[in-house]
């Protein structure tokens, strides 16, 4: 279910760019399945969930290429095989860099993005996942709550997306103020639907870490809060849009839904459904504002990876502290812990992205050539066109 979110994301993003770049944009999501899929098995799982080295990173030679994980071995005290847990977590690792691709759509060099995906997952995602989700991780031990990846996935991806977008620079057509219209909102809406569906796997499935020995009651809670937040967020975005422009757009509803899903991700198994309604609606309003602000500030986060995932993730992560009832009660102290988690993730992801991207800029450059950007990446990078409607 979670892996379904990757093609879902590919469709969501692909529909929003111009026709000449639809395939490249979708590729950047799909290719994460291949690159991170291999990385996760080889070293990713070991780094994220291996024996904790000072709370900062995992390491366990037995986990390299998963050789030390017999298929019959159960995960800790749970009723699921460890390999299932490995794969489940691997899907999160896959979708996180794919999220980042939204910020640099239509102009980043493919090989640089591939290298970035590999390096970022290894040196930013894995340590962060370890800090927040591994039993020995320092943020986990401090009591920072992140049910299904608000910090590890959305804040990390969102902040990294912003940094990368600034480093790659704006699309030339955006700088010139040209109109950029989505080439296929039908794909975007389809993608949003798949994301919503897959998100139940993402959030409810994360109960595997909370319940013993099977994910039961908490999964039910996460299922409910996820649905509630998404619905409330969708409604809220529609209302804000109607007030702002007098029209309710389909892209708006799709975006609102995603904003709600993002915000509830860190909170799904920690808050009541009613709180989820509030969280979703408020996240929607915040994300809508962030997207408008982007326009005023003038940077080109093409598909609002920071505006939706970054802002939504930060808001959700903080609000967990104010709304949680399990495993701890909401308190100012918890909000403080959440803020620490947010800050640590944002700074680490931002810095890590800067260093990796800077290195790649020196080696290969981050952007395609001006001609390639003008004519479209699909033809130049992949030798394909997304549509041949005129062909019989």
């Amino acid at each position: 279910m979670v892996l379904l979110m990757v093609p879902g994301l590919a469709l969501f993003y692909g529909g929003m760019v111009r026709r000449k770049n639809v395939l490249t944009t979708m590729m950047m999501s799909f290719v994460a399945m291949a690159v991170v899929g291999v990385q996760w098995v080889l070293v990713g799982y070991a780094l994220s969930f291996g024996q904790s080295q000072g709370g900062l990173i995992g390491w366990d030679p037995a986990l390299l290429a998963l050789q030390g994980v017999p298929h019959t071995k159960l995960f800790g005290d749970k009723a699921i095989p460890e390999l299932v847990f490995v794969m489940f977590q691997g899907k999160f690792a896959i979708i996180t860099p794919a999220l980042i691709s939204g910020a640099i759509a239509e102009r980043m060099r493919f090989r640089s993005f591939l290298a970035f995906t590999l390096l970022w997952t290894t040196f930013v995602y894995c340590p962060l996942a370890h800090w927040v989700w591994a039993e020995g991780g320092w943020l986990f031990k401090l009591g920072v709550l992140d049910f299904a990846g608000g910090t590890v996935v959305h804040i990390a991806a969102g902040v990294s997306a912003l940094v990368l977008a600034l480093m790659v620079g704006a699309r030339r057509d955006v700088e010139k103020g040209h109109v950029i219209l989505p080439n296929n909102l039908v794909l975007t809406l389809t993608g949003a639907g798949l994301l919503w569906f897959g998100w139940f796997g993402f959030n409810a499935g994360s109960a595997v870490a909370a319940d013993h020995p099977v994910a039961g009651a908490v999964a039910g809670l996460a299922f409910t809060t996820t649905q509630s937040a998404a619905a409330a967020a969708g409604l809220a975005w529609m209302m804000v849009e109607r007030w702002h422009h007098g029209k309710v757009t389909s892209l708006g509803l799709a975006s609102g839904i995603v904003a709600g899903l993002v915000a509830v991700t860190p909170a799904a198994g920690h808050i009541h459904p009613a709180a989820a309604l509030l969280l979703g609606a408020s996240a929607s309003v915040l994300c809508y504002s962030a997207v408008q602000l982007k326009g005023r500030l003038g940077f080109d986060d093409s598909l609002d990876a920071f505006g939706v995932h970054g802002v939504g993730g930060i808001w959700g992560a903080l609000m967990v502290g104010a709304l949680c009832f399990t495993p701890v009660q909401a308190s100012l102290e918890q909000v403080g812990k959440q803020a620490l988690g947010v800050a640590a993730a944002a700074v680490f992801a931002g810095l890590g992205t800067f260093v990796i991207a800077h290195g790649l800029k020196r080696i290969w450059g981050l952007r395609v050539s001006e001609q390639q950007e003008r004519e479209g990446l699909d033809l130049h990078v992949h030798g394909e066109r997304g549509y041949h409607f005129d062909q019989v």
Partner: protein, 116 residues
């Protein structure tokens, strides 16, 4: 022989086709080429919204129809197109009449006015 090229509102195509069927000898079997184009004109263009940003698209979609007729039918054809395509608003479109040097029916090899 003349080639009539008309740029009309896409939603008027059916009405134009109905009007043409009434004035042309072949009835419903008249020959017409239809394609979708976009262009600029006095239309202000449509306003679209992308993530809360208002965007005015300066080009407007139109339907282009191309029909070859013998001289005696030119005025009838123009009248039929106007009848089907006129809304009375800016953006109704335009009709061009061009001279045709020759016409060939590929299947039979007929040429000229017979081939139209």
């Amino acid at each position: 022989m003349k080639m009539i090229i008309a740029l009309i509102r896409p939603e008027c195509l059916e009405a134009v086709e109905e009007a043409l069927a009434k004035v042309l000898d072949e009835g419903d079997n008249f020959r017409l080429t239809i394609d979708s184009v976009e262009g600029r004109g006095r239309d202000a263009g449509d306003v679209e919204y992308v993530r809360g940003r208002e965007v005015r698209v300066r080009t407007v979609p139109k339907t282009r129809i191309t029909i070859a007729v013998n001289d005696a039918y030119v005025e009838k054809t123009i009248a039929a197109i106007v009848a089907g395509a006129k809304d009375g608003e800016v953006g109704d479109g335009k009709i061009f009449v061009l001279p045709v040097e020759d016409v060939v029916r590929i299947r039979t090899g007929e040429r000229g006015e017979k081939a139209i």
